[in-house]
Amino acid sequence: MQRILNRINFTDIAIAIIGLSLVGLIVVGSFKTIAEDNYTTRQWLDFVVFGMAQGSIYALIALGYTLVYGILRMINFAHSEVFMSGAFTAYFAADAMGKSGFLRENTFVAILILFAVSMSMSVLVGVLVERIAYRPLRRAPRLVPLITAIGASFFLQYTFKGLYGDQFKAYPEIAALKGNYVWGDLSITKVQIVVILSAALLMIGLYMYVQYTKVGKAMRAVSEDKDVAALMGINVDAIIVRTFVLGAALAGAAGILYAITFRQVNFFMGFIPGIKAFTAAVLGGIGNIPGAMLGGIFLGLFESVGPILFLDGLNVPAPYQLKDVIAFSMLVLVLLFRPSGILGERLSRSKA
């Protein structure tokens, strides 16, 4: 006991105070909201379903962050723009197909085409970024690739603004995806089903790829220790490219899912989802694939149910405005109290 008391210092106390007050706010708010009981079960379930759908999108993007972090130990800031580029480019395909009627007649094929376009574009952008901005800086001090990543993110945002314009583009409505299914109090829209199912399929596919194939094993080896993997005969550069390709493809898919959910795309759309996806990756444990998936869904739920659950009880007007605040606060809480995330990091801790 004495030893524990000796090791506590001011920092720990301050952090504990901040953390506990945040948690306290959450608990009090939740209790009050539940006590006041302003919302019906149906509304709560709506929030939950919406959160799961949004969370699946975050999870797909988070996988990109976590894969790259696992291999290169750096945050790929430009990943949010990889996400954006896919969705934005696929808009033109969607628009063309919508206007020609192809979208209405062969919806399934059309959506597959959209996925293909989006994922190809994302992969292209992701690989270019890796090749130009990250590869030459593999052995540079920590700060340098980070700043390069930030620069790449902005560069890509404004390049796409210059290429495609700064207007919001609206995806055409997909007739086959209108409407919802209702079971008692639970109401799920068709779009949400598509989102959740596709995301689940892709994540399972990725997990199996990484766990059960030779390339997946190589990826895990490279993320464990690059130099030893090279000694074992693995082509590290090729594996790194492959990782970027995978992450980018998932982000491209997430782009389409985002587009059919929110319907609007523009050059800036990647920024906030990118940060939230990174939060999700950290939440689940950076470098940990199931962790990213879990973190994404968790974050989506938190963000969707949170404002109403915590803030309404605290009598905050218009709590939905603060949902980003909740997401970021979650990041802080996780980093304060469980920096290795829910499922724990798969990497060894490196020095600051």
Partner: protein
Amino acid sequence: MEHDSKSPWWLKALQTGSIGGAVAVLVSLIGMVESFHARDIIAGQITMGETLLLLIVGFIAYTSSRSGRNTAVPFRLGSGVLAGVVTSAMVVGLILLGNAVNLRRVLVNASPALYEILTFEKESTAAAAGFLLVSGAIIGLISALTHVIPPNWKRAILAGSLTALLIATLQDLIRVTLTPFPEVGAAISWMFGTRGQEGLSVNGAVVVFLLVASVNYFSSVRGDVIRQRANALPPTARRAFRWASWGLLAAFLLVWPRIAGPVLSEVTNSVGLYILMGLGLNIVVGYAGLLDLGYVAFYALGAFIMGVLTTTGGEISFDVRLTFWEALPFAIIGAVIAGVILGIPVLKIRGDYLAIVTLGFGEIIRIMFLSDFLKPHFGGSFGIVSIGTPTVGDTTLNTPQTLYYLILASCLVAIFIANRLRDSRIGRAWKAIREDEDVAQAMGINLTTTKLLAFASGAAFGGLSGAIFASKLSTVYPHSFVLLVSINVLSLIIVGGMGSLPGVIAGALLLVGLPELLREFNEFRLLIYGALLIVMMLVRPEGFLPEAVRRRELHEGDNLNEPAGA
């Protein structure tokens, strides 16, 4: 680029050329060429848009002919020519594609105006293609030739051309600055284009080029002699010389608003505020090595505290109506407290996470100020209006020229503080943390207090800057405090040189002053920042005016393969 010594020279030239072509096509399609086309470099002859394309070709050819195993002259020249031709060929390809397919539905800027520029207004596509390919070859040849001529000449030519380009681009600034001096009016109208056409006249361009080139050549040949003689002067003379130069600088700074006029003073004020912020972030990122992407939070807090305390609008709950000077300490102290509060949770967080968390904080602060939750206290999306302006004696500092002195004074104080901090014990503690936290802790440095002090100092400068900003505009809106501000400040530190004070000033002048002066750059500001950050990190990570230590650190492994004595 990898130096694959096994591939032949023409393959490398092809690769380099294709990269150049891709860049040229991209630059055209994002609208830069069209936008730059509005400004003439040499009046009536060549515009900035065309110059941009020429520069791309030239630079690619220069790079292509620089390295390579075959250093024989014909191969160098061939390499340059080939790279130039390939680059032009890709532009030709774009023109042909644009003629065949309507690109405008997807690529917004692939407009008829763009094609007119790209074809240099030639009548037929064939003529345009021919012109582009031939000029690509010629430019490639000239760029390659610069490697063949003696290095003195090369530097002289480059200096001359770049200076001519710079003067042509900044001709508004120069004209405005020299307007109060009618004696030079005749010289100006001879040098620059006639009114209405911007840019240098042909005569002016030639004169500038020859002048700068000869000065550069002369200094490279005889420069050492002059420097030796200067160093051989007795110390009293040298000291006198140094005092004289500082005195000249001081006089210039004091008189500047009078020369500059209201518009330029406004630009200078923006630059000054960013210098203040840059100095603050320099402490956090440059000295202590803590990558803070949420610096805008302190800026916002300083501005909002100043706003809340001095507003006479009566729309918010806390109606105190202090004067600027009374509220200023509160603004700074408020920012400092925020710095400490925001610093505590991140004390144990490492580099990459720190960046994201601080980014999150910046966004949290902005969203909170924007929200309806805090609207009664901070004005929500309507912001706060009627903020107090500073007064010195009888005069109110509400014009750009008068506010300039306040900003100048603050910058000088900040520079002094930053300078002394760097050389103090705490400054060395920060440097130790930057290098390696664990070792620093082992050496007895208290990580907690040191880091918190870094955040607090940085926040103080940010808060001061924000407070002045608030009273400059006499309104604050949450919309002004976006992440882009943090990125701006970070960019200017990085580009100028992390940890070095002249670097911050240079970075601010370059990254804040230049876009304000050149409207065309302003449109593509963040794109250029992004590209600049990437390029700087690849080529010169220590920035333009770095500390000597930093430069050594970052280029440690560069010359390891050279034989001793090289």
